[in-house]
Amino acid sequence: MAEKKRTQVEDIDRSMYDFRYDDSDAEKLDAGLTPEIVREISERKGEPEWMLEHRLKSLEIYNSIDMSDWGPSIDGLDMENIVTYVKPNTDQKSDWESVPDNIKDTFDRLGIPEAERSYLAGVGAQYDSELVYHSMQDAAAKMGIVYSGIEEALHGEYADLIREKFMTLIPPTDHKFAALHGAVWSGGSFVYVPKGVKLDYPLQSYFRLNAKGAGQFEHTLIIVEDDADLHFIEGCSAPKYNVANLHAGAVELFVGKRAHLRYSTIENWSKNMYNLNTKRCRCEEEGEIEWISGSFGSHVGYLYPMSILAGRRAKASFTGITFAGRGQNLDTGCKVVLGAPETSASVETKGISKDGGIQTFRSSVVATPNAEGSRCTVSCQSLMLDNRSRSDTIPAMDIRCKNVNIGHEATIGRIGDDKVFYLMSRGISEEEAKTMIVNGFAEPISKELPLEYAVEMNNLIKLEMEGAIG
């Protein structure tokens, strides 16, 4: 890839400046993934027939659509290798064995059944949340809440419901990696919160590898019925034992009437990860989705949680932070569809780039003709920590309704020298001062997180800021 870049730089003319429209690399990517492999996956999982059909259809779509031409390059991703992620009997199976002993011990002590172990493998010990999970299981189950692996749920009580909802928010036709996900998805969670049930502590899910080592394609399906309430936390904290380099998960969230869901993510994948995750939520009348999203890890990130406000007075909020350091190109943001009367959405994001890192805020706000009386505000601030880095803001709005209020504001800049000087004049080192200011910049996001995650985020920032000077 690096060599390719250089040749382009040499023969410069106007036409090369437009070369971005050339997709010539795209079609070669798909060799290696065959219907046979997909059938094998399905068979091993003992899935219902419809799921196999879904997979095969998705594979077809995957092979027929191009990779997008506007985002970070994925040329460095060896798509041939996808097969090795999804094919049974690869060496990834041994990953459970390489999970540090102390984590395994924790599970043993908690008495998580043997069968569930592989499903839970991948819990990061640093969050120290195992106990929370355990106690939650009992209490939540009594309330009728279902929280299980989605594969097992496919055979359980909610099988029909899953079939009805599965990949309806994220159809395989949506983009190339949604199609790939549809073909090879594996593992993930299913959460069902019955009508009127309000859980007042969060459910948590962690990055996990399932037995076949295909956790990079996990599918999360959450249904929050009318008047119910849930906070779900997804932690993707740098699993050091992870050798994978592609994550194409999918998260589908259904929020019923007057229901409320908060979905928090702190993503800190190791920096060889291509994170092409897709997350979507549909809210019915007066339903509310709150996204909290922190993106710190990954080599390449494409992440735009989408809120579809389908019912009258449905609400969405998105609070996000993205920190792109050395070698990272993180293209993040969100999508909002104001699709019913009197809906409202607010988006607040912060982006930080440093050491040649690239962070792009990308969004789309669409107001359909029946969004009468809806409103949306987008506010986006970017901080450049040096001039080797890049920070782009690309917010699109498509408004087709008269009586709406759509506001957008964005600012970009750097840490004020005066602020650094002020702190230094009080005896604080330059690095500390800058870390302090960046933490302050991130504060509106971290204050939305549970304490342990907020602390984790501040640590991540501190870590990223180390050596920021000079």
Binding site: K5, H299, D331, V404, I406, E409
Partner: protein, 428 residues
């Protein structure tokens, strides 16, 4: 000789594209077959024969030399250091930052170190080249250092024809140019339903300390299509003001690109548009900050009524080295009727830390505090919205720089609001 049918794809493309499903990345211009090529351009004396046709290119070539002296190429040693850094980065970070196509292109463009290559046309090279071809002779408005001139170019579109002016403005050091461009279809009977094509392609070179002001007023009948293409180059401390008033034509393509190359260069764009009936407006702005302490201000104010639609792409690019640059972009759109469509994408691209970029957009109905005020004076919401439509035209008439522009506005105003011209009869 008539035109051949031609589709110009990816016209007015934004530099850093986004999702294709939004259909906002660029637009398409269809030139129909069989239009007579009839410039119908009138240029105020004495500027018609003033400058030589290659004046602009020469000025840019001189600027290139000057620029290179001030911005020497990296020495082999510097280059080696940079490459070492890139290699180290690649080794440490899985092949280096995985840039997007746009980002690779942007870096390559800077490495080319060519002002001519960097010079852009707002609607794109292909459309601009076509307009140049259609215009035939180029109007060159050139000033000597310290001089001050006013010029006017009137494009009077006629039915079934392609009426285009190609204009170069080459403003010498510390000189001042005011250019009024009038694009109107004065002789078309309103009822005729005539169709045709009009357009201008303008290149501006503003040398150090020059001031260039361009006011373009477009009041074509709805059967016409208008292409307004501009490419601006601003040298040290130069200031370029552009005001575009877009009231007429069934479909319009407005594209403006500017290179703020000189230190402390300043570009201000003030766009006002009215969408009514089935009008489709397309705007594309690309402002590239190269010089230190450069400033740009993009302002767009519009009212969309009827079944009209509008797309606006505004890109401010704060390029590495543009220390102290400030770019700001502000858009207000009032949506008056059901059935209007408004697309907006205000982009800021940035790879220099010592800058300030901001943008804001307000889309929708009248702000609550404004509405309360208007209501307290007896206007219903509907009255207030109608008032904005009329006010847009009225403001254009008040601000019209010359009689021809004003006559066009009044003529168009009369078609939108019967009795409109009477409002101005004292002054008109």
């Amino acid at each position: 000789m008539g035109t051949h049918a031609l589709t110009i794809k990816r016209a007015s493309a934004m530099p850093a594209p986004t999702w294709h499903f939004l259909k906002m990345n660029d637009t398409q211009i269809e030139i129909p077959e069989g239009l007579a090529v009839a410039p119908s351009v009138k240029v105020s004396e004495p500027w018609r024969a003033r400058g030589a046709a290659d004046e602009f290119d020469n000025a840019l070539a001189d600027a290139q030399e000057e620029w290179e002296k001030l911005h020497p190429e990296p020495t082999p040693q510097e280059r080696e250091e940079l490459e070492a850094f890139t290699r180290a980065e690649a080794d440490a970070t899985y092949g280096g930052t995985a840039q997007s196509n746009y980002q690779i292109g942007a870096d390559a463009l800077e490495e080319a170190r060519s002002l001519a290559v960097a010079f852009e046309h707002g609607v794109g090279e292909e459309a601009a080249a076509y307009l140049r071809f259609a215009a035939g002779e180029r109007v060159v408005v050139q000033t000597d250092p310290g001089q001050s001139v006013e010029a006017q170019v009137v494009v009077s579109a006629v039915p079934d024809a392609l009426s285009v002016a190609a204009i170069d403005v080459v403003a010498g050091r510390n000189s001042s140019v005011s250019l009024s461009i009038v694009v109107d279809s004065p002789d078309v009977p309103a009822s005729a339903g005539a169709s045709g094509f009009a357009g201008t392609t303008v290149r501006v070179f503003a040398d150090a300390d020059a001031r260039v002001s361009i006011v373009r007023t477009q009041t074509l009948d709805l059967g016409f299509t208008d292409i307004d293409d501009m490419g601006l180059f601003a040298h040290d401390r130069a200031r370029i003001d552009v005001r575009q008033t877009v009231l007429g034509a069934g479909s319009t393509f407005t594209g403006l690109a500017g290179d703020l190359r000189g230190d402390s260069a300043n570009i201000v764009v003030d766009t006002r548009y009215l969408g009514h009936a089935d009008q489709e407006h397309d705007f594309n702005y690309v402002l590239r900050h190269h010089g230190t302490r450069t400033e740009c201000n993009l302002g767009a104010n519009g009212v969309l009524a009827g079944k009209s639609s509008k797309t606006l792409r505004g890109t401010i690019d704060l390029i590495r080295g543009a220390k102290g640059a400030q770019g700001s972009e502000n858009e207000t759109v009032l949506l008056v009727d059901e059935g209007v469509k408004n697309k907006t994408v205000p982009v800021i691209l940035c790879n220099e830390d010592d800058v300030a970029g901001n943008h804001g957009a307000t889309i929708g109905h009248i702000r609550e505090e404004q509405l309360l005020y208007l209501q307290s004076r007896g206007l219903s919401k509907d009255d207030a919205e109608r008032m904005f439509v009329g006010a847009m035209i009225e403001q254009a008439a008040i601000d019209a720089p010359d009689e021809e522009s004003r006559a066009g506005v009044l003529r168009l105003g009369e078609t939108v609001i019967p009795g409109f011209a009477e409002l101005f009869e004292e002054e008109a």
